[in-house]
């Protein structure tokens, strides 16, 4: 049997708010394999973002464990988590979260810098990837000089820079108009066809259906696993 790239095993996330406890996730287990495209869907507050953050080693579970490439997150210290995140996960956020003062090129070079890759190589790779997402002519633009869709493509380029195993995207089209949203989804589709694993949070069924699998969350629990054939 193949080893999953990411696996959550009986994960709980409980926020202790003093007077009351919020069960953001309760006993969630699931696996992601190489090359899959999975959507997480559910109503607001159902724990989608929490699950995505836990799966991508940004957040530690209260109980249970997450395995990244077979290694348990509970056995890693913060530095190791940062390293694992930096190498195996590529983040795409709803609000882009680019560094405003840096150009598109510099933003894409940033994760490579954190990985200790030499200056010349950083720049070369960043240029290639910006080219790949169709922004070869926007390398020296700052985020404020780009449209929303272009910003999100810079963010995807930044996520791709380290050639990660998984792209995780939290409502990547949430802040975009339908046309640029469509372009971003097509880009994620293409990347998946080229072999990238994609884990995406959305609350729109149309968007969720582009995946091969939808995990439905409600009140922090998986209530349904929906599978589609490869399109």
């Amino acid at each position: 049997m193949k080893q999953p790239i990411l696996e959550a095993r009986n994960v709980f996330k409980i926020y202790d708010m003093g007077k009351m406890k919020v069960n953001a996730l309760s006993d969630v287990s699931f696996k992601i394999f190489q090359g899959e495209f999975i959507s997480i869907m559910g109503p607001s507050g159902s724990g989608k973002t929490t699950l995505l953050d836990i799966m991508s080693a940004l957040l530690r579970p209260t109980k249970g464990d997450v395995f990244i490439g077979g290694k348990p997150v509970s056995k890693m210290d913060d530095n190791e988590l940062a390293r694992v995140r930096g190498r195996t996960i590529g983040f795409v956020f709803q609000t882009f979260n680019l560094i405003q003062r840096m150009t598109a090129l510099e933003n894409v070079m940033l994760p490579l810098w954190f990985q200790g890759i030499a200056m010349g190589e950083r720049e070369k790779r960043a240029r290639e990837i910006l080219e790949r997402v169709g922004l070869g002519d926007r390398t020296h633009h700052k985020p404020t000089e780009l449209s929303g869709g272009q910003r999100q493509r810079v963010a995807i380029a930044r996520a791709l820079a380290v050639d990660p195993d998984v792209i995780v995207a939290d409502e990547p089209t949430g802040n975009l108009d339908s046309v640029s949203g469509e372009q971003i989804l097509n880009l994620l589709d293409e990347l998946n066809k080229e072999g990238k694993t994609v884990l995406m949070v959305t609350h729109e069924r149309d968007i969720g259906k582009r995946a091969q699998k939808i995990i439905h969350l409600k009140d922090g629990k998986i209530i349904k696993n929906e599978k589609f054939g490869r399109r």
Partner: protein
């Protein structure tokens, strides 16, 4: 861990800082500027004064009224005419020159001015000149037979009277007696201008005694035959004069000891000013810390994003500390520039008052100024940078 790119990243961040964060740098700029100005001025002052004492000569001893304190110029008459002969009797003494000083009011037409009368013995003119006094600019020096003749300085002649210049052959009334200006003294260098005192009226010793009641000299300048004899002659002057006066109501100084006491005074002044400047630097440090704390808060989401894409806590720490260090360095560099501008300005003002104050740009001061400020910046950056590095990435990303 991270390569030199960190400096460029820090620079990018600083460049985009708001005006507010530059204002918080003001304390640092002023502190470093104060230190630089202070050091360059006091170095210049030292050089100027050293040059002055050198021109007085190392083979000259001064005997002045008063106890220990070096710079007392109080006109107390404890030196006697007879002291000249006592000192002349000491082996190794070549000549003793007495200066017969007093204050008076001078009148020229309707102008009144205070005058500092100095009488000297024209026979000893060459010794006076050897000590840097009496360099003639125009006219002639005094002769023994002169009674109603005076010398004044060129700058006094030019500037003392509003709309009118004094010159050779003009007459001035002092204490009701008319005197004729026979010569103008060149006081363009520091030694002859005596720290910018220009209202010195030189008369013969006889005139000083006849018209100004200066029977005894106020101070004596003793020239020894050989520089190496200075110390032994000083000892003998002290013991013989003390025996003659019955008490030590005078002080004996050499160029060297004058320079030493000057340097002591300068040193105390430097320490006091340095402490004031340090307070400014501390204010600057607080400013940088404050501005970095604001920056960390403003960039919370960025910090979250950087952590998500693989930055370790130490990398975040390094990024913010570098930024704080660079910010401090910027303040320091501006401070060094400002400090030298002020120093050159003061030097120019002093120059226009005939006081040559050489200012030299000293690379050591530049390096020290910039590195102190970089160091202070780094230290002030530790707390904000730690706060940034310890942020929880998820909370940081959710920060509004």
């Amino acid at each position: 861990m991270l390569d030199l790119e960190i400096v460029r990243v820090a620079f990018t961040n600083i460049k985009r800082q708001r005006l507010r964060s530059y204002l918080t740098l003001l304390g640092m700029v002023i502190g470093i500027a104060a230190i630089v100005t202070l050091f360059s001025l006091s170095t210049g002052l030292s050089l100027a004064v050293e040059g002055m004492f050198e021109s007085l000569g190392l083979d000259v001893i001064f005997v002045e009224p008063g106890g220990e304190m070096g710079f007392s110029t109080a006109i107390s008459r404890t030196i006697n005419e007879s002291d000249i002969d006592i000192i002349k009797g000491i082996p190794g003494v070549e000549e003793v020159v007495g200066l017969y000083e007093t204050a008076a009011i001078a009148k020229y037409k309707e102008h009144e001015m205070s005058a500092f009368i100095i009488g000297y013995d024209p026979n000893k003119e060459e010794y006076m000149q050897g000590m840097g006094y009496l360099s003639l600019g125009k006219g002639r020096l005094l002769e023994s037979s002169d009674l109603y003749s005076i010398l004044i300085s060129e700058s006094f002649a030019k500037d003392a009277l509003e709309g009118e210049e004094l010159d050779v052959r003009k007459k001035i009334e002092i204490n009701g007696q008319d005197f004729k200006i026979v010569g103008l003294l060149d006081d363009s260098d520091l030694a002859s201008s005596s720290f910018g005192i220009t209202n010195m009226f030189w008369v013969t010793k006889n005139a000083a005694r006849t018209f100004f009641g200066a029977e005894d000299p106020i101070e004596l300048a003793v020239k020894v035959t050989d520089e190496h004899l200075v110390n032994s002659v000083v000892e003998k002057i002290e013991s013989r004069l003390e025996r003659a006066h019955g008490e030590k109501d005078f002080s004996v100084m050499t160029s060297e000891s004058l320079l030493e006491s000057f340097n002591t005074v300068l040193g105390v002044m430097q320490i006091v000013l340095l402490m004031l400047a340090s307070i400014s630097v501390v204010v600057g440090a607080i400013g940088i810390m404050n501005s970095m704390l604001m920056a960390v808060l403003e960039r919370t989401r960025e910090i979250g994003a950087m952590k998500a894409i693989g930055a370790t806590n130490n990398m975040i720490l390094a990024i913010f500390i570098t930024e704080a260090g660079l910010l401090g360095m910027t303040g320091g560099a501006l401070g060094v520039v400002l400090g030298y501008i002020v120093a050159f300005g003061i030097s120019a003002v002093a120059g226009s008052l005939n006081f040559t104050l050489p200012i030299v740009i000293d690379p050591v001061i530049v390096v020290i100024g910039v590195s102190i400020s970089a160091g202070v910046g780094i230290v002030s950056g530790i707390v904000p940078a730690r706060r940034a590095s310890l942020m929880d990435p998820v909370e940081a990303l959710r920060y509004e």
